[in-house]
Symmetry: C2
């Protein structure tokens, strides 16, 4: 992997990314040797930097590093981690921030354009998401809630867990966003209090609007989820995956418009 | 510093401590060459490991590493960081956890026994603590809330910021716990929903009970804080510090029993 542009695989233990989870990350599908949805990932990373007061890295530099790390391989995953860099003891921000930039390849198989989408089985997690508008939406490095939620099950036939916030509203799954088809509307939870504003979520919303669908972001209860005509989850590495079963309830997926799925999957897994 | 017992100062970037803030830490005062309140720190670390399903490190091994890292220096600070170790991409727990153990010296001046305690000026932070009973009390590595709260001010005459939870209850300060003297009672916020269960907080509660004081853990509002007879904050590195001013309100500290302060400071900054 590349750390601040150099081939190495360790970071100083005084990095605030390790000391406090003080940073952000992006997980990006690689198809035909290029990162997918690059502009959207960079927009989110940049917005996250603004929120956390971390200097925004140069997008061209990062792109070059991503291509260097991909090293001509066709398919896989790039993770970009950006931390506030090394720091003294204590929560105070360093007077000058020298952020740490990690670009890391890992194996993975993004969906092929035109292939059938996979459906999943999901459960409902006991672990809740804490309410924190200051951090909501960000893909930051404080992910113990997701780690705890994902540790609730080991059954490999279950792919995802639905997470509610501490007030009981449905927010997302452990590593994907959630959408409901509801009487012809497309609904997805409000992320003003917690949750990660997924890149694939944004693409789905924009694409659905472009197709003339009614798209709403709202407070969603478990009862609404259970009463939906169809459910699907979204993630940058897997695109759209219909939920065929949530706990003991089966869902059909014929309510999910094929043109939405096709358009999202082709935009999400091709290079720009 | 020592990482898994070896003198080095970097960790693999795939460590889950960096990738997800998946771990715990302890910050320990060193006086006369020994770590203070060692048993209490080990009890909290061990309880945190149980909650997060991280193997509990051997306390004797850790103690030896702490002494090796102190290397005969008299006064300072030891930070122990324990992470879930390296992992593959994704939130799922590794099938076998090889935790990472970091023992790190830094400069610092714990209070000398018998010296006058410092008083502080505090403010009220806008950043709230998210409610999450599953993580409440732990000194885990997900500390962005504290980082954001501490970034709200840079005025060096203000030492601390009081943080409320998302429901508006007072919980703690950015890096210390809070106590109120209230009509002869000692009150400290309930940490069942969020906050760090400080080692010095525990020592203060035990010592106060031993002195026959009435000690209550309760839901505390900002109005109660403002109406307290005295306020003080506690932290493993500074012991008890009275609050002489919170926002624009002055507090006296003669309601804080001198025998409580003396007993806590002498127990907190001597080696066992």
């Amino acid at each position: 992997m590349l750390i601040n542009g150099r081939k190495q695989d360790t970071v100083p233990a005084i990095d605030r990314g390790l000391q406090y989870g003080d940073g952000l990350f992006e997980t990006i599908a690689v198809v035909e040797g290029y990162p997918c949805l690059w502009q959207r990932h960079m927009q989110r990373l940049s917005a996250g930097c603004d929120r956390l007061c971390i200097p925004v890295p140069d997008s061209k530099l990062l792109y070059d590093e991503v291509l260097e790390e991909i090293a001509g391989r066709a398919q896989g995953v790039i993770r970009i981690t950006l931390t506030r860099g090394p720091g003294e003891r204590g929560y105070s921000l360093p007077p000058v921030v020298h952020s740490t930039r990690i670009v890391q390849w890992s194996e993975g198989r993004p969906p092929m354009p035109g292939a059938a989408v996979d459906s999943i089985v999901a459960r409902i997690c006991r672990t809740r998401l804490g309410i924190n508008p200051a951090l909501a939406g960000l893909k930051h490095l404080n992910r113990l809630e997701q780690v705890m939620a994902r540790s609730e099950w080991s059954d490999p036939s279950i792919q995802e867990g639905v997470m509610c916030d501490s007030d009981g509203y449905v927010i997302e799954c452990t590593s994907s966003n959630l959408f409901l088809l509801w009487r012809g509307h497309l609904l997805t939870p409000n992320l003003k209090n917690c949750g990660v504003a997924g890149i694939m979520r944004g693409l789905v919303m924009d694409t659905a609007k472009g197709l003339g669908m009614k798209v709403s972001v709202s407070d969603i209860t478990l009862e609404q989820v259970m009463g939906a005509d169809a459910l699907f989850v979204t993630n940058s590495l897997t695109g759209i995956r219909p939920v065929r079963m949530l706990e003991t309830q089966a869902f059909a997926y014929d309510a999910i418009p094929a043109e939405l799925v096709d358009s999202v999957m082709s935009q999400g897994f091709s290079h720009e």
